[in-house]
Amino acid sequence: MANVSMTVNGRSVSGQCEDRTLLVQFIRENLGLTGTHVGCDTSQCGACVVHVDGKAVKSCTMLAAQADGSEVVTIEGLSSGGELHPVQAAFREHHGLQCGFCTPGMIMSAVDMIERHGGQLDEKTVRAELEGNICRCTGYHNIVKAVLDAASKMGDGAKVAAE
């Protein structure tokens, strides 16, 4: 058995699990944070994307023990004080979802993508960067629109803050 400690959404957590426990299982079953989804379980669909030490990773393809000592952010950690994160707001505004199953992973990927590219994002880049996230409903069109809109708003915000 592994004793695992990590910071999840700013809160220190620890727990015991089998060494083979996947990070996504630890997040969902030990911590009860069920916003992170298991879609394909074959490391392809990206429904389980969370941020580990500031980087988007597939939590179904990482052991909880590998994340011991790490900072983890899940979909539940994005909004603050009842305000949606700009990417969440943009997905709602542009209806970037139908059934919603892939949405947590899409949003975590989009936040990571915008943090890496800033205001440089264009449609081609967004579509290439969404390679690891599969949506079986929307055809991606509104998802891409939502990411671009959020990127421009977050880019403007960063610019205002810098000035």
């Binding site: 990773v57 393809t61 996230n133």
Partner: protein, 266 residues
């Protein structure tokens, strides 16, 4: 996934000690192939020795024309390195097109080459670049390292610690990804070296993993341009044939991708 025991290694020596203490132990680096394989119960290592926290195995250094990439360096770091982009742009391009962004944050160059998947990108790059693979015991040339599909020259417990490359004068990589898995259905890396020689390595197509194509190397050594490949024939006898592409289709792809790689090299 079958039960396993996780160990976090703090140094190369520590990792080798942990791995050799048990016959059925495996090193885990990014785990982007190993964990999915374990989830399908196609691999069942009794012990996993995690290499991600060994500081000496991480990072990129470029000095003059000498490039050294630590084995535990993730693909995203190679893809985003301005030093690699300047010294060996084809390799940065290759790293930027492995899997997807999340896989690139975890997967490492050492893990990729130690696994030597017949459709992985790095084996073609390292073979064309005439790289040296540094292990805890010795240095191995890429030509000797990749010994066949999922097979390498590594002994039991031997650990890849770094990859060393002499910057080529020109290089380029082009791949035709499988539309679903994004693995290379054929990928070709072309490198022109300082002594004028050219190396062409092909992944995703060979029935026994990565290979070099001598006919293309000779044609490009005398004329480094895509049109120099027009008269070269690619024999499909030793190429893979599966539901995605016949060996004849792959033979054609090898030539098309080689031309694109030469054009990308400029």
């Amino acid at each position: 996934m079958y039960a396993t025991n996780y160990h976090r290694a703090s140094s190369v020596e520590d990792a080798v000690k942990l791995a050799t203490a048990n016959d059925e132990a495996k090193y885990i680096s990014g785990g982007q192939t190993l964990l999915p394989t374990m989830k399908q119960r196609l691999a069942a290592p009794s012990d996993l020795v995690d290499l991600r926290h060994i500081a000496s195995m991480k990072g990129i250094s470029v000095s003059g024309g000498s490039i050294r990439i630590g084995a535990a360096t993730p693909h995203a770091d190679v893809a985003n390195s301005s030093e690699i982009a300047a010294a060996c742009p084809g390799l940065a391009h290759l790293a930027a097109h492995i899997g997807d962004p999340h896989v690139r944050h975890m997967g490492t160059i050492g893990g990729s080459i130690a696994n030597n998947d017949p459709a992985a990108d790095y084996p073609a790059g390292l073979m064309a670049l005439n790289a040296t693979i540094v292990t805890n015991k010795r240095s191995i040339s890429a030509d000797d390292f990749f010994t066949g599909m999922f097979d390498t020259a590594l002994d039991d417990g031997e650990l890849v610690v770094a990859v060393e490359i002499t910057a080529p004068s020109k290089c380029g990589y082009a791949k035709f990804p499988n539309p679903a898995s994004r693995y290379a259905m054929t990928g070709v890396f072309v490198a022109k070296h300082g002594d004028g020689s050219v190396r062409v390595a092909v992944t995703g197509a060979g029935s026994d993993g990565v290979f070099r194509h001598e006919g293309m190397e000779q044609a490009l050594a005398s004329n480094f341009s895509a049109s120099a490949l027009d008269g070269v024939t690619v024999d499909d006898a030793d190429l893979m044939s599966d539901i995605h592409a016949s060996s004849a289709y792959r033979a054609n792809l090898v030539k098309v991708m080689a031309k694109r790689a030469v054009s990308a090299a400029g």
